[in-house]
Amino acid sequence: MSPRLRWRKFVSGFMLTMTGVCAAVSVAVLFFILGYLVYHGGTSISWNFFTKLPAPVGETGGGMANAIVGSAKLLLLASLVGVPIGFFGAIYLAEFSGGTTAFVVRYAADLLNGVPSIVIGIFAYSLVVLPFKHFSTLAGGFAIGLMMIPITLRSTEEFLRAVPRALREGAMALGASKWKTISTVIVPAAYRGILTAVLLAFARVAGETAPLLFTAFGNRFWSPGWNQPTASLPVMIFTYAVAPYDDWHRQAWAAGLVLLGLILVLNIVARAILSRGIAVPRA
């Protein structure tokens, strides 16, 4: 073996090991965070946590039932805003648009993504709260829905583009119209990726606090309907974490753990139900 080849082989082995290290570090961080949350908040997770309303200071046994339901409602609304715009917009970018339009839309999406969450909150506040003179779940859902758009749009577009040309050409050759090709061939082929995009966007907005402060506001009680202020997990975490009571701190960690757990469950369920895609050949 020539020395040059030996060197190249060495570099190959070394770099590939380094990538393994990168992956290990990333995963380790996650497990560390999980462990920390479990350690500090695990004791506060009980049946009460999921079913009771927050208790006053000094009393134990309170829970975050209203925050859990509130977060779920907010995410539902957010996905109504974020997913269709992201998904269909991405289809337009990947399949129909010319270079300039695509450029502009992508640019706009990246700009939107960079807006601080508090500014989105202020924006939603002036659009949905001020005119109606009250805080509401609708306003909160709208605010975080806006935040979902860029991630969904950009990622979905990438995955749609990544579908091999061969599949498209095959459909074309069979005489399928554009829309037919998209709906029956391309989208199913990119299903996995699209799901990843949507779940990533979900994960992102599930933990956002700032946009909710001025829109969904917060609520110690149950929030009926869509027009009232509502509690949410991130806001509860924030409120409890900055308070001077240890019990509230523990509940804040517990809430963080529950939030992560819910997203985890959502991930599992979504992948299980919806991951019926055409298997794209992998290396």
């Binding site: 001020l130 110690r220 900055v242 308070a243």
Partner: protein, 341 residues
Amino acid sequence: MKRITGLFLAVLVLAGIAWADALSINGAGATFPYPMYSKWFDEYHKKNANLQINYQSIGSGGGIKQVTEGTVDFGATDGPMNDEQLKAYSDKHGSGILHFPTVMGAVVPTYNIPGVSAELNFTPEALAGIFLGKVTKWNDPVIAGANKGVKLPAEDIVVVHRAEASGTTYVWTDYLSKVSPEWKSSVGTGAAPKWPVGLGGKGNEGVTGTIKNTPNSIGYVELIYAESNKIPYGSVKNASGVFVKPSLAAVSAAAAATAKDMPDDFRVSITNAPGKAAYPISSFTWLLIPQKFTDTSKRDALKGFLKWALADGQNYAESLSYAKLPKEVVAKELKAIDKIQ
């Protein structure tokens, strides 16, 4: 796919069903009294199951803004509204807004000096000097002079202040402006001043956390945070020349001194109050209640709550490290409640 859409829509509809038996009132404002108010509103709810008072702490300024905008029914603030804000409110609503002091608190100087476990005495000159960046070392004569017998290190002082705008900062700077002309002219009183020196910690928790982790640091926090985090806090020399250790009794003393001259609108600063037992960095916290209500059920509910808070409610204060209102102030407030229409 159709099944999922159907399920989705069903959940959407179900979640939207509103049950409307309870009267819901929303309030926003200061973070400092949040534990107190949340306790009060929960206890009051137990007595009146049909009434839900939902209070969220988004900051004193936020409370003032939202109650002016009309998005919440009442507000709460650690620093009274100024004339400009009052005018903005009355311009918008056609009637005024009333201040009601609820409880009181103390802002205390906390510190972390390795090797020093004693309670330090701080003169107004020392505090102003430290926060102005003029006094830079712990063994500076201005500090040492009031703490004879304590060995202070020759280390740089790390100042910690609040990062975000807050009522606590308002009270602290209000005090410093009263005792230091230099502070008043160069920095001033406000919720978010331009700090000459120091790091910014987020929230009272952030400041206590930073102090705990940073040797030779000093900051200011609400009394309850210093107590629950068990960090040392010092005594401050009051206007009568006595070094007073922060305590609920000392805060009440500060309020009692000003109770006699309490203005009718209750907007008063009790920092640097006269009296031997008064703690100089004390403050009221207020509820902001509109003078005119269009919704009579909300009006009556809030009036009922106020009366309860000023009577039975006060009994919950001390266990949460808030100071009760002096009797004279309570009496005056009960009369003022009638102004609410």
